[in-house]
């Protein structure tokens, strides 16, 4: 497989400690966000201030890794300055690329910093060659993070049609079952959404209630799930809850599960994907270290034509369950 391009392993960091873990574990690039509503992981206590970003960029660059800054929420009308400042500061501090979702903000970045490398966030959910061409031709977007709706076959067919635009795909972690950036379930229940506030099913609206049967998890006052004693629990993300429809109780949208494509890496490399992304800026450095090590080993093995390493990541997946998600057609 030596003729294959070496894919970039793009890893999450919610804190400087996680950034160091990711770089030390073999990340080619680390993506992160500012500690405010400009990024889609606007969780309490998470993310980077300007000083921390500067230090993080220095740490990564000294070790040959890149830093990608996600500014991937949709600016609020009337206050675009917060988002513009985030773009300006990320460029000034030496970020290797910006990950953007909003068309207006992409336009701002392209006009103001024509030399900056722009990536299209998964939150823009560009799911076909025409959408991708739009962002590439109008704004010079160089890479697209694909929404988690396409199969490996569809990705393989897409890549040659959009070159030289690169694609980045998620290989591990939390999984949106809806087209990303096109989902208002969170704000319907809580008033706060990924697009507007950078949060999905925000912690401030979560409540765990002990009952005779076990724990109930509530979001915005709606019971999202109930776990018996000894049963694996899950965070009450709306689309991973148990609901009733037509008299049947089920995980209607998706089970509490994590995407894991370790075994699929050779296929994804063959499909012409430029970068592999690990989800989880909100997870701790233990998670970051373990997952990055596993996928570093996986990518290296795939490039060397060796069998995929058997690495058990059960213990850090949601609900202890794993899926290959939309990459296989049967998921739909």
């Amino acid at each position: 497989m030596s003729d294959l391009e070496r894919p970039e392993l793009v890893c999450p960091a919610g804190t400087p400690a996680a950034l160091q873990s990711a770089v030390d574990a073999g990340a080619d690039a680390v993506y992160l966000g500012f500690r405010d509503e400009t990024n889609a992981r606007n969780f309490p206590g998470l993310n980077f201030n300007r000083k921390e970003l500067e230090a993080g960029i220095a740490y990564a660059h000294e070790r040959g890794a890149k830093i990608l800054v996600a500014i991937n929420t949709f600016p609020r009308a009337g206050t675009p300055e917060i988002w513009h400042k985030a773009v300006d500061d990320a460029v000034t501090l030496g970020a290797d690329a910006l990950i953007l979702a909003d068309i207006g903000l992409i336009g701002y970045a392209a006009r103001t910093h024509p030399q900056a490398r722009l990536h299209l966030s998964v939150q823009a959910a560009a799911s076909n060659p025409e959408s991708i061409r739009f962002y590439a031709e109008r704004f010079g977007v160089r890479r697209v993070v694909l929404p988690r709706v396409l199969t490996v076959q569809e990705i393989a067919a897409l890549n040659p049609r959009i070159r030289p635009v690169e694609t980045e795909v998620f290989v591990f972690g939390g999984l949106c079952v809806m087209a990303e950036g096109r989902c208002a379930l969170s704000s319907y229940a809580t008033g706060r959404s990924p697009n507007m506030n950078g949060v999905c099913s925000p912690a401030g609206h979560v409540r765990y209630v002990e009952t005779a049967e076990g724990i109930s998890s509530e979001l915005g006052g709606f019971t999202i799930n109930r776990f018996g004693r000894g049963e694996q629990a899950g965070y009450p993300t709306l689309c991973k809850g148990r609901f009733q429809a037509h008299g049947k109780t089920s995980y209607l949208f998706e089970e509490p599960t994590s995407l894991n494509t370790l075994a699929m890496l050779p296929d994804l490399i063959k499909a012409g994907v430029t970068a592999f992304k690990i989800e989880g800026r909100q997870r701790g450095r233990a998670y970051v270290g373990a997952v990055v090590r596993a996928f570093r080993a996986g990518v290296d093995a795939a490039l060397a034509g060796k069998p995929m390493p058997e690495i058990n990541l059960d213990d850090i997946t949601e609900g202890g369950r794993q899926t290959t998600g939309a990459y296989e057609r049967a998921w739909r």
């Binding site: 804190t15 400690a17 309490p44 049963e231 899950g234 909100q282 701790g284 233990a286």
Partner: protein
């Protein structure tokens, strides 16, 4: 009814520092206030090495959190204020005193603080139980995880000048901190081995543990009251 009072073996630094041993340690009747100087010194030591740690709490810095090591007969009141954090040892904390509570075996809490186990995974497996304002818990977890703590190392290195107060608090605290000697790594390994194993094997069932601990704790607190 048998009285669960395993004895603390002195000079057992190479023996596994198991939860049972910790429990045995703790089962000795002791007033929480006797432990306070040790925790004061410990927190000071950690904060000295990570002065920005609680800055991440942002607007949640005024929130109080109950850390409840379910295998020990005391609880900790954590006030993660950016400039004046406090960690107070208490016999118990009423739910309305705090914004949130985090319960789990002491070994798990230490491993979590050191970033060696993943908080979400522990929660998914029910190894950790959280109650109250989830936002505060998330902020605290991120603040501590983000600091990159090396708890045992920080404590031992940081405790130098404070070794006095630590020694002064009596056998229990002295045992907790003094007994470990220089063997940071072996202590750490043995201390959190169970938590790491649990996270690996997904076999921790806190519900059962809680029931067990609740009955043990009752006895301990009864004894504690009798002693004080």
């Amino acid at each position: 009814m048998s009285n669960p009072s395993p004895r603390l073996e002195p000079k057992s630094g190479h023996a596994p520092f198991s939860p049972a041993l910790l429990l045995g340690l703790a089962l000795r009747p002791v007033r929480p206030s006797l432990l306070q100087p040790a925790f004061d010194a410990g927190l000071r030591a950690v904060v000295r090495r990570h002065p920005d740690m609680f800055e991440r709490m942002g607007s949640f810095g005024d929130a109080a959190v109950c850390l409840d090591p379910v295998d020990l007969p005391f609880v900790l009141l954590m006030e993660p204020h950016a400039t004046e954090p406090r960690l107070t040892v208490r016999a118990s904390i009423e739910p309305e005193e705090v914004s949130a509570t985090i319960r789990g075996p002491m070994a798990t809490l230490i491993a979590l603080a050191e970033g060696r186990v993943d908080g979400d995974a522990l929660f998914f497996s029910r190894e950790l139980v959280v109650e109250g304002d989830t936002e505060v818990i998330v902020a605290l977890r991120n603040a501590i995880d983000g600091a990159g703590l090396d708890l045992m190392g920080d404590l031992l290195r940081g405790l130098g000048p404070f070794a006095g107060p630590v020694r002064g608090v009596g056998n229990l605290a002295a045992s907790l901190f003094g007994w470990v000697g220089d063997e940071v790594e072996s202590l750490r390994r043995s201390l959190i081995a169970r938590a790491l194993a649990a996270a690996d094997a997904q076999n921790a069932r806190l519900a059962e543990l809680e029931a067990e601990v609740a009955s043990l704790r009752k006895q301990v607190r009864a004894k504690g009251r009798a002693a004080s």
